[in-house]
Symmetry: C2
Subunit: 282 residues, 2 copies
């Protein structure tokens, strides 16, 4: 265990342990909080693969942990879950007086524009720093998969597409697939990355998918999700995938909305999808 | 559907529907909010049994709904879940400047003392008014079971013990089994019922169990629950049960605390216990 990890809480769940930690992040220059679920297999010395979960706007490490019911399936499958926060936080960290920019809305990018560039480096945190910390501190293997919801679905897809070989599979619930083309993404990218849209392409899954190495990809989208027409537009990802025979499974789920009731309803299938791909990976 | 039910939200979950309603309660003389989960079987005209869930201190109808993961199992078993609030609420309702008395802490009693007697009539609400409303408004059968957590575990046991024939089974997580003998219960009962301890006996599960008709009873208690030694004392219920061969299964779960991670870890077993008893009931 790294001496730099401060244990905030440890709770038994489904025979394993749900733990929350705080640590000083080199990426963000702030204290960062994350949670990890260690399944029961780890108590017997087994090193297990990790599913990284990226949360959506306004969330922190606790929303998925308390509402998705994922630990039950992770315990069965022998999968660790790692749940980072969605941005740096605190008094010295820039913020905006709205829910979709600033603290709780880091969009998993490395900001280049003032006042955000000082701390908003969630891409580096999620891709490099956090996995290195987790793999150096806990009984996990080097195998990884990644998933997320809404802004975190964008994060999961984008991070996986940019880093071939790093994840065995990617999945998302209600992801912002084309942030450069929708209001949430445009506000975030113009603020964090500036007005030069060339800089946005590196964080836009629909654009990245045109060039990326194929990767097993599962996306669930609720048909009654009120954000679907304007902010999510899953058909844009479908179109990009269809142009190059990308292994995308996109499922439109009738009657479901944007909430964690939707995530909870299908999380078991996502975890089984990742477990199968992790098992098949080298 | 009763015209007096105001639908607050409706969300798809596990193939069924999670709905929240507000209505004017004759018991409390206030507006009351409750949630119901209707499993997918009800969409095909089936009338399903109901599990009533009573929540703990500080909770409302949403804690169990969002954190326990019970809908998944309810959907499989064809069981409706009904989740009332834990007290009357609002500006005209008496309150106390602490978490364990007043709003959010109704203890499922009919208060007799000022200022509580005006609205704190949660016993009548949970035992009579809410089931009548539910059975007159939704596709449910007259079969009922009841469960709860902490203060709600007290409520479930107490209500079931006082009403033979009304529930097929009762279960509880971390219940306050002997409220007349522990600080949480003594504060609530002296406030709501007055100093005459004879009035307390009607709401104390350990005392009620000495006279009640046998009923299948499942209790789970986390061994690391910080409230166990002072407030919960499950061994008092065990002792009362052992004196008369009561069908109590009390399980001490090593490592688990008082949280919803504990409830979520074992809710599936509770729902299967109730489904089996509901199926066996006349």
């Amino acid at each position: 265990m790294s001496a730099s990890l401060e244990l905030l809480s440890s709770q038994r769940a489904f025979g394993g342990w749900h733990k929350r930690y705080r640590h000083q992040s080199a990426s963000t220059g702030t204290a960062m909080t994350f949670a990890i679920y260690l399944p029961p297999q780890t108590a017997h010395g087994e090193r297990v693969p990790v599913l990284y979960w990226l949360s959506g706007l306004t969330c922190n490490d606790e929303n998925f942990a308390t509402k998705a019911g994922a630990q039950r399936v992770a315990a069965e499958l022998g999968l660790a879950l790692v749940m980072p926060d969605t941005s740096p936080r605190g008094e010295g960290v820039a913020d905006a007086d709205r829910y979709d920019l600033g603290q709780g809305a880091g969009f998993y990018v490395n900001a280049t524009q003032a006042p955000w560039a000082a701390h908003y480096r969630m891409y580096d945190y999620v891709v490099d720093e956090l996995p290195a910390l987790v793999e150096g501190s806990f009984p996990v293997s080097g195998k990884r998969a990644i998933s997320g919801h809404s802004m975190g679905g964008h994060g999961a897809l984008m991070v996986a597409l940019r880093n071939p070989g790093r994840y065995a599979s990617v999945s998302a619930f209600s992801p912002i697939v084309n942030p450069a083309a929708v209001p949430w993404g445009q506000l975030a990218f113009s603020s964090y990355l500036g007005e030069d849209r060339a800089a946005w392409a590196a964080y836009d899954s629909c654009q990245l998918l045109a060039e990326a190495q194929p990767l097993p990809t599962l996306v669930d989208q609720g048909e009654q999700d009120s954000f679907k027409p304007e902010q999510l537009q899953p058909e844009a990802l479908q179109l990009a995938a269809s142009k190059r025979d990308w292994p995308l499974t996109l499922r439109l789920q009738p009657g479901y909305d944007h909430s964690y009731y939707f995530v909870a309803s299908f999380i078991e299938e996502h975890l089984r999808f990742h477990a199968a791909n992790l098992a098949a990976s080298g």
